[in-house]
């Protein structure tokens, strides 16, 4: 029991970091109505750019800014593949993600890079969970960043531009009829989303003290799990957009807490990803099942482009 208790703060810290990533997934999955698989690559890109900038003597802030920009570039690539080149969103994301594997390798020069917390001035770390000043505690630092991120997003999605992004995701036919450049909105949304994912990658790299070429594998599933758990538990309480994003972060924390408990109970850790995939698959199926077996009014708005 003691070992579980000791592991929980770390799980919360990881949950918070992945919470930023999950907010990014929420933006594409829920607001733009796109399942963006770029994140599996851009998370690693964020980590790789951050660690290499730090190792070459840049400050942690510059390094994280660099990571965000790199993530936005990845989102831009997917956006162009999807809009300008007309490739379906899922495939566009997969293509970018695959390309990023090589790019991440080139950025790091090899499959992984480590950074020493004693020699570099990291913002967050495994070591900053216990026995550090409160303001240096990773949980506190990441929590503050999340509040900032949510505040900025809350403001942005209330602006004219943010509203047109939401309209694009909700009903792009209507959006174009109201003069909104839906292609531009999609690209912009993908950039913002992947910028956040890369920021999470940069934080995760510092937290674990290394960047690895495989660190983003399955990231989309973790992000979706956080979104779904957050909505399932807090969806009825949190109506406001800002609180919904907070719900997603809570979802991510819960995911990591449950994961930690499952590990403590002695499950074969090789099976963890399978478990995540199954849980997410079931939760994604719930709306369909509800509509099929329990529906009285389950009619969704028509989205297809009918000519007639």
């Amino acid at each position: 029991m003691m070992s579980l208790m000791n592991a929980l703060p770390g799980a919360v810290a990881q949950g918070l970091i992945w919470g930023i990533m999950a907010i990014g997934v929420y933006l594409t999955f829920r607001i733009l109505d796109i399942a963006d698989l770029t994140v599996d690559g851009s998370l690693g890109t964020g980590g790789a750019v951050c660690i290499m900038l730090m190792l070459t003597g840049h400050s942690v802030w510059v390094s994280m800014a660099g990571a965000i920009l790199a993530g936005m570039a990845a989102g831009f690539a997917t956006g162009i593949l999807h809009t300008f080149m007309g490739i379906p969103a899922i495939l566009a994301g997969i293509l970018t993600q695959l390309g990023l594997y090589s790019i991440n390798l080139k950025i790091m020069g090899k499959a992984n890079q480590a950074i020493n917390v004693d020699k570099y001035d990291l913002l967050v770390s495994l070591r900053f969970i216990r026995n550090v000043a409160f303001h240096k505690n990773t949980i506190f630092v990441v929590a503050v960043m999340i509040v900032l991120v949510i505040a900025i997003l809350y403001w942005f999605f209330g602006t004219e531009l943010g509203c047109s992004l939401r309209a694009t995701g909700c009903n792009d036919k209507m959006a174009r009829a109201q003069g909104i450049n839906t292609d531009f909105c999609r690209v912009l949304g993908l950039m913002v989303s992947n910028g956040l994912v890369a920021l999470a990658g940069a934080l995760l790299t510092q937290y674990q003290g290394f960047a690895d070429i495989n660190m983003g594998r399955g990231a989309i599933v973790i992000g979706l799990a956080a979104v779904i758990i957050g909505e399932a538990i807090f969806g009825r309480i949190f109506r406001n957009f800002g609180f919904r994003l907070l719900g997603v972060v809570f979802g991510s924390i819960i995911y990591y807490l449950v994961l930690q408990i499952v590990i403590w109970m002695g499950i074969d850790t090789d099976l963890l990803k399978l478990l995540s995939a199954v849980v997410v698959a079931i939760f994604l199926a719930i709306p369909t099942w509800k509509g099929r077996y329990f529906s009285t009014t389950g009619k969704k708005g028509v989205r297809c482009d009918v000519r007639g």
Partner: protein
């Protein structure tokens, strides 16, 4: 106001499903013209409206709105000149956004979207005043999600959104076809009222021949991608549904065998 010059559009070119939807069609609307469009299924009515709206590029021809050549402009840029209401009430509004948010999107049609607030407080009075005319009680529900409204309410809201910023041309694509008769009448009355008030140039597709005769100052009948009958003024006012059926047979050499049309007598 609207000049359509020799436009053609073929869907699925080179396949077994090839469909010549518009064949060298020309049409000119004068300022303040309210034109009703009728024709059988597949006559090209919706295709004509979509061509004007720029949903896809036309294969040939030219489209001018208010003297400006818009043939090469993408849909979202043409929106600056156009107000549009679709057949499906779900298509014209954003369901997950509030009533006032939808109106705010419409108020900014044709303007660049900046980082300024999406809705200004001062706009809310304007929206309330506009919504009151619908007498649907929507002015009390400014922040309600549009997805909670009925089809008729959404269609009325879409009509309001299309005309919130006076459009140079109003495109109505069977906008009452999916509504029950009572609601359809209400939306149609509102249409006539707004068009009259703002002196809008309007192109309205309908399957209801009576509506086509009663509304507007001009009527065109389409068949196989072209205009086969074009009537305006006094002559139009005197038309009867029988006249139209007869005209159709005369012009197309076919019987007007369309259930919806016949039922609409």
């Amino acid at each position: 106001m609207l000049e359509v010059k020799n436009i053609s559009k073929t869907f699925n070119q080179g396949t077994v499903n090839e469909k010549k939807a518009l064949k060298n069609l020309s049409l000119t609307l004068h300022d303040g013209d309210f034109v009703t469009v009728i024709g059988g299924n597949g006559a090209g009515k919706s295709t004509l409206l979509n061509a004007v709206a720029g949903v896809w590029p036309v294969d040939a021809g030219q489209i001018l709105i208010g003297g400006k050549d818009v043939t090469k402009l993408p849909e979202y840029k043409r929106a600056a000149f156009l107000g549009r209401v679709f057949q499906d009430p779900m298509n014209g509004t954003a369901a997950t956004m509030g009533i006032e948010e939808n109106l705010a999107l419409a108020l900014r049609r044709g303007k660049s979207r900046t980082l300024k607030a999406g809705i200004k407080n001062s706009e809310r009075d304007l929206y309330s005043a506009w919504l009151k005319r619908l007498s649907l009680g929507l002015e009390e529900r400014l922040t309600s999600k549009v997805g909670l409204l009925s089809g008729g309410q959404r269609q009325a809201l879409t009509l309001l959104m299309a005309t919130l910023q006076r459009p140079q041309l109003l495109l109505l694509d069977e906008h009452t076809a999916a509504l029950d008769p009572k609601t359809a009448k209400k939306v149609l009355d509102l249409t006539a009222e707004i068009v009259e008030e703002q002196k809008l140039t309007t192109l309205m597709i309908t399957h209801n021949m009576k509506d086509a005769i009663q509304m507007g100052n001009r009527l065109i009948m389409m068949h196989e991608g072209n205009v086969i009958y074009d009537v305006a003024g006094e002559e139009k006012k005197k038309l009867t549904v029988e006249d139209l059926l007869h005209k159709f047979e005369e012009a197309s050499g076919e019987e007007f065998a369309n259930d919806r049309m016949i039922l609409a007598k």
